[in-house]
C-alpha cells in the first residue's frame, strides 16, 4: 500500500488554504504508508517574464549554514544572492541561476546538499516518518498554492530513506507520486542510463518519473508523455503526476490500486480513499467518481 492525495484549487479565494486542506488529507492516509511522507506544492510568485527558479534543497546535516551556501553561490554564479527560505532543517533557494548551472555550482560548493525538486512554481518537501510529523516539520499546513500532491509511503521496492521518499521531482516543475510497484523498471532504468539519464536512487517510481521527464523534454505534452510511459511500464500503479500547468491521474489495466476523484467548482481533489476527501469544504456537493483503468485524466491548472 501507499497513500496518494492531490488538490488542484481553481477558486483563487481558496488557494491560501492549500496546505491547510492537503495536510489532513495526507494525515488520513498515513495508515496506508507510515514510512515516509512528501509533498509538492505549486505556487507562482514570480512576475511574468521573470526567470527565477526555486530549488528545494536537503540539508546534509542539522543546523546547516544556508546563508553561507547562498553567499558561495552568489560569488560563483554572479546572478545576485539567492533568497533563502528555511523550511525545517531544509531550505528553498530562489535564484536566477538556470538549473544546469545551479547544479554544477552546487556540486562544486557542497556535493552533500541534496535537491528534492526545482522549477518556477514547485516546492518539494519530503522525509521519513508519518504524514502529520513530516508535514509539521516543514510547516506545510501554512503553505498557500494553486496545486499540491502528496504521498504516504509503505516501502516495497527500495529502502526507506529521505531520498527514496515520493514525490520524485526530476524535471522543472514536474512531480510524480506512485501507489504500486513496477515489475520491469530495471530494464527501463538500464536503457535510460545508457541514454545518459542519471538517477538519484534505485527506486522504481523514480524510473517512471525520469521516463516521463525524458518524453516531456523531447516535446511531448503531459498526456502524451504519460501514455508512452504506460506502454513501456508493466506493473501495478495509480499515479498522480503534476506539472506547472496540469494535474494527471492514471491507473494500470488491473486498477487494483485505489483512487477516488472529487470535483467541485472550487477544486479537483484526488485521494487513495474517499475518507481523505470527506472533510474538504463543499464535498457533499462534489461529483465523486473512480478513475477507470488505463484511462488518463488531466486537469489544466
Amino acid at each position: 500500500m501507499c497513500g496518494i492525495a492531490g488538490l488542484q484549487i481553481t477558486n483563487p479565494g481558496l488557494r491560501p488554504r492549500l496546505g491547510e486542506l492537503l495536510v489532513p488529507m495526507l494525515g488520513l492516509l498515513a495508515g496506508r504508508g507510515p514510512d515516509s511522507t512528501g509533498v509538492a506544492i505549486y505556487r507562482d510568485e514570480a512576475p511574468p517574464g521573470a526567470t527565477r527558479t526555486k530549488y528545494s534543497l536537503r540539508a546534509p546535516r542539522d543546523g546547516y549554514d544556508w546563508d553561507g551556501l547562498a553567499r558561495a553561490l552568489d560569488e560563483a554564479g554572479g546572478t545576485g544572492p539567492p533568497e533563502v527560505r528555511r523550511r525545517g532543517r531544509d531550505a528553498v533557494l530562489v535564484t536566477g541561476l538556470a538549473p544546469e548551472r545551479f547544479r554544477d555550482l552546487l556540486a562544486g560548493i557542497d556535493a552533500q546538499v541534496g535537491m528534492f525538486g526545482f522549477g518556477a512554481a514547485i516546492e518539494v518537501y519530503k522525509d521519513t516518518g508519518p504524514a502529520p510529523e513530516v508535514c509539521a516539520r516543514y510547516g506545510v499546513d501554512r503553505m498557500a498554492g494553486y496545486q499540491g500532491i502528496g504521498h504516504t509511503r509503505m516501502a516495497t521496492e527500495s529502502a526507506v530513506t529521505t531520498e527514496h521518499s515520493h514525490p520524485f521531482a526530476v524535471a522543472p516543475d514536474l512531480a510524480l507520486v506512485h501507489n504500486g510497484s513496477f515489475s520491469n523498471y530495471a530494464g527501463i532504468r538500464r536503457d535510460l542510463t545508457d541514454a545518459g539519464v542519471r538517477f538519484d536512487t534505485d527506486n522504481d517510481s523514480e524510473v517512471a518519473a525520469r521516463y516521463i521527464a525524458r518524453e516531456l523534454a523531447a516535446g511531448a505534452d503531459l498526456a502524451e508523455a504519460v501514455r508512452r510511459m504506460m506502454k513501456a511500464f508493466d506493473g501495478f500503479y495509480t499515479l498522480l503526476v503534476a506539472t506547472r500547468d496540469s494535474l494527471a491521474v492514471v491507473r494500470d489495466s488491473f486498477a487494483c490500486k485505489p483512487m477516488v476523484i472529487a470535483r467541485t467548482a472550487d477544486y479537483v481533489a484526488v485521494g487513495s480513499e474517499y475518507v481523505a476527501l470527506a472533510d474538504l469544504p463543499g464535498i457533499e456537493k462534489a461529483e465523486v467518481f473512480e478513475p477507470a483503468p488505463e484511462e488518463l485524466y488531466t486537469w489544466p491548472a
Binding site: 488491473f254 486498477a255 487494483c256 485505489p258 477516488v260 480513499e273 474517499y274 475518507v275 481523505a276 476527501l277 470527506a278 472533510d279 465523486v288 473512480e290 477507470a292 483503468p293
Partner: protein
C-alpha cells in the same frame, strides 16, 4: 427492560464522529434483534457494521468506506450514500443495500445473503462469489464475477471487460451490453427457470427496469477447472 417500550428500543442513533469504528461495532453487537439503528456521519470510514450476527435494521447516513457490512450474518443494512471497496465482503446472510455507487469488489466472496447496489459497481464486483447474490442496478466494471464459485449476479446495466473470467458454478445475468467475456465464460441459453429466477431477484432488489426474458445468461464453459465438488458433494 420494563421501562423501555419496544418502540423506544428500536430507535438507536450512533455517531461515527463521536465513536471510533471499534466502539460503533461493539455497540451494535450489544443490541437485541429487531433494533433499528442509524449510524450518522460515516464520512467514508471503513469497516462499519462488520461481523454482526444479529438481526438488526441498520441505516448508515452518508458515504461509507471499505468492507461495509462485511461478514454479516443476519442484519439488514442500508447505506444512504456510496461505499468504498468490498461492500458486503464475505456476507453470510442478511442484506446490504447501497443507495449510491459501490467501489471495487462489491460483494466479494459472499457466501449468502443479498447485496444490492442501486447505482453502479466498479471493477471485480462479485469476485470469488461463494453462494451469495449480488444485484447491481447499473453497470459493473471490468473483471466482475472473476472466479465466482457459486451464487448469482444480476447486472441491470452494462458489464465491463472480462466478465466472469475463470467462472466456476456461479451464474451471471446481464440486462445490458457485455464489453467482453473472460476466459472460460460463455453466453448460455436462457431457460424459463432463469427468467423466473431473474424476476424474483429483480423484485427482491427493487429493480423495475429489467425485462427478465431479455437478459443474457453467462455461465462457465467448465474447461478451466476439474473439480467435481458440486456433482456429488465429496469435498
Amino acid at each position: 427492560m420494563a421501562s423501555v417500550t419496544p418502540a423506544e428500543m428500536s430507535r438507536v442513533e450512533l455517531s461515527c464522529a463521536e465513536l471510533s469504528v471499534r466502539e460503533i461495532n461493539a455497540a451494535l453487537r450489544q443490541l437485541p434483534d429487531g433494533t433499528a439503528v442509524r449510524l450518522t456521519e460515516a464520512r467514508g470510514q471503513h469497516n462499519l457494521a462488520v461481523g454482526l450476527s444479529t438481526r438488526l435494521d441498520i441505516t448508515i447516513s452518508g458515504n461509507a468506506g471499505y468492507f461495509t457490512g462485511g461478514l454479516g450474518d443476519g442484519p439488514d443494512i442500508t447505506v444512504e450514500g456510496f461505499t468504498g471497496w468490498s461492500a458486503g465482503e464475505n456476507l453470510m446472510s442478511g442484506t446490504l443495500r447501497v443507495r449510491g455507487n459501490a467501489s471495487e469488489s462489491a460483494g466479494s466472496s459472499a457466501h449468502g445473503g443479498l447485496i444490492v447496489i442501486e447505482g453502479d459497481a466498479s471493477s471485480r464486483a462479485g469476485i470469488s462469489l461463494k453462494g451469495g447474490t449480488v444485484a447491481v442496478a447499473g453497470d459493473v466494471g471490468h473483471m466482475s464475477g472473476f472466479m465466482a464459485q457459486a451464487g448469482t449476479m444480476l447486472i441491470g446495466g452494462d458489464a465491463g471487460g472480462s466478465l466472469g473470467d475463470s467462472l466456476y458454478e456461479a451464474v451471471i445475468y446481464v440486462a445490458g451490453k457485455i464489453r467482453s467475456l473472460g476466459s472460460d465464460a460463455q453466453v448460455e441459453e436462457l431457460t424459463d427457470a432463469d427468467v423466473a429466477r431473474v424476476r424474483e431477484l429483480a423484485a427482491a432488489a427493487g429493480f423495475g427496469h429489467i425485462r427478465a426474458e431479455d437478459v443474457t445468461r453467462v455461465g462457465s464453459a467448465r474447461t478451466l477447472y476439474r473439480f467435481d465438488a458440486l456433482k456429488d458433494q465429496r469435498y
